[in-house]
Amino acid sequence: MPNEILVIVEHADGKPKRTAFELLSVAVTLAAGGEVHAMMLGPGASAAARGLGEWGAHFVHTAEAGLENYTSLRWTRAIADFAAARKPAAILMAAGSLARDIASRVAMRLGGSLASDCVELALGGAGLKLTRPIYAGRARVTAEAASGTLLVATLRPNAFTVVKPAMSAARIVVPLMVAEKPEDLRAVVLEVAKAGGTRPELAEASIVVSGGRSLGSAENFKIVYDLADALGAAPGASRAAVDAGYAPHSMQVGQTGKTVNPVLYIACGISGAIQHLAGMRTSKYIVAINKDPNAPILKLADYAIVGDLFQVVPALTEEFKRALRG
């Protein structure tokens, strides 16, 4: 039975975010022949919509007026009003700061269910079926949303394969009007301070290189940054390293830091406490460099080097630079 699926496509710098293509691939599967609608909100949405190309959305609804500055209530209204009228089976968002802000509100307003950070999402026997991590990834739960009810699902980046549709849908871009109600302005963003720098965002990066307390100092973290830069990766850190002052909290990976799901996670001198693993254990490939052959992280690593990180990590940087030069 075909379903209508709504996908919230985030965009930056004039193009859709990478997560959009994963969401659209899942949406096409869930739609089972039904319509896939993408929604893009905020300044630059119409221009960024062009970047969706032929990827799975039959219609792309773009709205910019009244959305110049982010307000959670107006974004919620844009999505909820649309979904209330069209009654999709599911609304898909990327698991990230936008979804964490408004997915709950959208689900509640529409009387639907919320499943955050899904790592599996498919058509089930009785409705949509999903799997998501719980207890900081120490367990997983599989659950179903009954058919006829709305599921708001946020999807973990990199957990789903991007599948380019065999036939390009006739993609139509539709300008969307979002009601501008004064009560939406009860919470407004006054200012956005960008972090600066050219490194990729940790939660969105394909490759992450993290350092642990064994680095010994903030200065020594240079070897982590050098390896990250050689790979175009985002640098990360364990909680112990952050607590010791060797790296800022914004770099912390783990239960009380960021959750990452890159294709490659390189852990330098990180022992692998449960709370750290919670933030990176679903990475596609894990490399551990540690002088302790009994470090817990080695059990999770696809590849490991047992050795002195101060020798191994710079050697890796050199090898990657050499290999990537071609």
């Binding site: 959670s72 509100r105 509640m108 679903t282 090898e319």
Partner: protein, 258 residues
Amino acid sequence: MKIAVCLKLVPATTADIKISSDGQSLQLAGVETIVSPYDEYALEAALKLRETNAGSSIQIIAIGGDDALKCIHHAFALMADSAIQIKAPGVDARAAARCAAAVLKTSVPDVILCGRQAVDDDLWLFPGALAEALDVPHATAISSLSVAPSGKAFHCRRRIEGAEQSIEIQMPAVLSCDKGLNEPRAPTLKGRLDAKKKQAVAKTPAELGLSDADLQPALKVTRYAPPPQKSPGKIVQGEPAQAAAELVRLLREEAKIV
């Protein structure tokens, strides 16, 4: 200022999460429990607001059975003024939000503080859902908080990908708290002794006008499972330079990445 804090009891972050052999339930009896860590930042934020706003009071909301009472006891030991236990054990986050809304809607506080996520379900549902049910604005995962000069709004900051937002949010509001907002204080001995004399008010969902249908789970759980096990990895041998070269080769040729 009328301040409310919502607290949830969860298994300790180092506790083993055992799953029944048929995958149909979690075996958590006897597991060490704590107040969800992000809720502690909410409680501390409440204590600070009360300190700096004369005449303020802190009301605790906790949903559940003995687990809720444990949270309330902890909050009483930190000198919370009053508490309501909503006797709805084992309900999911959406039902919990409905319970909290039912209690708070008769007299909406100026601010309702929660943790950004409960570290058991990791759902990030409760704060936004509660705000929606009360029709008040909310801010998610705030890392700084102050009262705006008008006295009728808050200024807070929130980290997003690659940036930090500065937000102005009108009271009444729901604020969910992130690590870095503050350093939660420990209860004092006096606080712990006083806590024994304090009593929470208990309410049932029915008393709050909620039906069984309101408390039904949002999703039907079909299975619990441990995280996927990985097959054992490869230890790359050799001196640093050789091992590094071999690792890069494996990543390129075997894993086909980089």
